[in-house]
Amino acid sequence: MSADPQAAVVSTAGTAPPEGGPTAAVTSTKRRAPSLLVLNIATIFLGLGLWWLISLTGLQIPSPVEVLLAGIDLAASGILLTDIVASLTRVLTGFLLGTALAIPVGFLMGWYGWARGLLEPWVQFFRTVPPLAIIPLAIVLMGIGEQPKIFVIFLAAFLSCVISTFQGVVQVDRTLINAARVLGAKDGTIFARVVVPASTPFILVGMRVGLGSAWATVVAAELIAAQQGLGYRMQQAQIYYDLPTIFVGILVIGLFGLVMDRVLLAIESKLTVWQERR
């Protein structure tokens, strides 16, 4: 069945002149793949099935059902919710502080040569230091309360976001700036009405990356020093050889990361509908 249109296309392409007609036929017959959503759902079930199979081989890996039961237990006792709230609070506080500082600093670096000269070496230097490597220092200086964790998350979010904001400002099309100048705009207007909207897509990508690294950092920070949170819970489970709880932690972290990314992606596509996508 599917071989027939293929063959027809091949034969017309062979006899037809190089330009014109047949291109439409080629693209229309190629549109036969199952939708992305179907593939996504299928791959989730495949993954779960594979996991189940591996759990049956005696590799000490808990089965999906065991993990689900452990998850229900943790949720029923209220521990799961407390942990999620603790981790999310840290992530969102650090992320919001980090991006709130990164956006003006990124604009400053992109717009003023002097700011770029003064700030870029520091940003590039700290970018090469993994935020986790700062944790020991942060704990020594700030104690074992919330500050060192939030600080490290803040740093991770800031560094990811500042670079792409800066890139966004630098790449603004000179012709657009010239067009605005010809229409009577001065520097302030050009900044607010050309540079900011033109670099929005870059800022949003930076925020997505920033949120990703904030979420990655919180778990690691909690592994090292915390009294609650998803990372702490996994650390405890490790001591008691409680594999299902570790799996619950991994799944919850992954799911929340995914949901937060999707939310930002939705905001991004709403704010950048004007972009010409190729």
């Binding site: 605005a180 100048r181 010809v182 009577g184 207007t189 033109a198």
Partner: protein, 262 residues
């Protein structure tokens, strides 16, 4: 307009280009983009500038628009030396330069908003020029949904909305296909004939240069300079008949020879 006024405006120098040179340093070597260009453009003239690439026509245009500074010499518009860009000198760019996040209407209103024109007047003015370029049905569309020709018409409306003293056009139809280009030329002439605003139009298309202009300035390269100025004594409105007439062909061939056999 009475005949007395016409003779007066013909001698009135709207644009004066005075012995402009422009040098660039490229990799330590000096590159002479313009080597002494002088040109007068009268009020109500439509001047096209044509020449091979590297003849400095875009550089001349940027200097007239105030986006670039000459190494020596000066550009004077309306008796004032050009220093930096101004809404008085509208520019149409080859790449359209529409703000992609703004609708057609918001693009046309951009400069009016900058000039703090009250909202209702702004809207009326924008509407007038959007209708003039035939984009009324697309006033609330984003640029990404428009064809190249429509984008450029939006840019033309945006420039006209500022009521500029002169219009500078830098290969505005260069990115369009041949048919859209001809349509845009006819459309531009229709608009121009309404108030005969002074236009300097850069192109590398000899037909386009001949079809639009009162006067064609042919430039030569290395260094960029004016090679010849050719008057186009064909009546407006320039219809298809004009385009297909032997007189047009003769002028066009004359320009062609000047451009390609300098």
């Amino acid at each position: 307009m009475n005949p007395a006024e016409q003779t007066l405006t013909a001698t009135d120098r709207k644009i004066q280009v005075r012995d402009i040179t422009k040098h660039y340093e490229v990799g330590g070597k000096r590159f002479e983009a313009l080597g002494g260009v002088s040109l007068d453009v009268a009020e109500n003239e439509f001047v096209t500038v044509v020449g091979p690439s590297g003849c400095g026509k875009s550089t001349l245009m940027n200097i007239l628009g105030g986006l670039d500074e000459p190494t020596s010499g000066s550009a004077v518009v309306d008796g004032k030396e050009v220093r930096g860009p101004s809404p008085e000198r509208g520019i149409i760019f080859q790449q359209y330069a529409l703000f992609p996040w703004l609708t057609v209407r918001q693009n046309v209103e951009f400069g009016l908003k900058t000039a703090r024109v009250p909202a209702d007047e702004r809207r009326r003015t924008a509407q007038h020029f959007i209708e003039m370029v035939g984009l009324a049905d697309f006033a609330d569309s984003l640029p990404k949904t428009l064809s190249g020709g429509m984008k450029q018409r939006c840019a033309i409306a945006r420039a006209y909305a500022m009521n500029p003293s002169i219009l500078l056009m830098d290969e505005p139809f260069g990115a369009l296909d041949a048919l859209s280009r001809v349509r845009m030329q006819e459309h531009l002439l229709e608009t121009w004939e309404q108030d005969r605003r002074t236009i300097v139009f850069i192109t590398h298309d000899v037909d386009e240069a001949a079809f639009l202009a009162n006067r064609v300035v042919v430039m030569a390269a290395r260094p960029g300079r004016i090679h010849r100025i050719i008057d186009v004594d064909l009546p407006y409105p320039r219809t298809e008949d004009v385009r297909l007439s032997p007189e047009f062909t003769a002028i066009r061939n004359d320009i062609w020879t000047s451009v390609y056999h300098q």
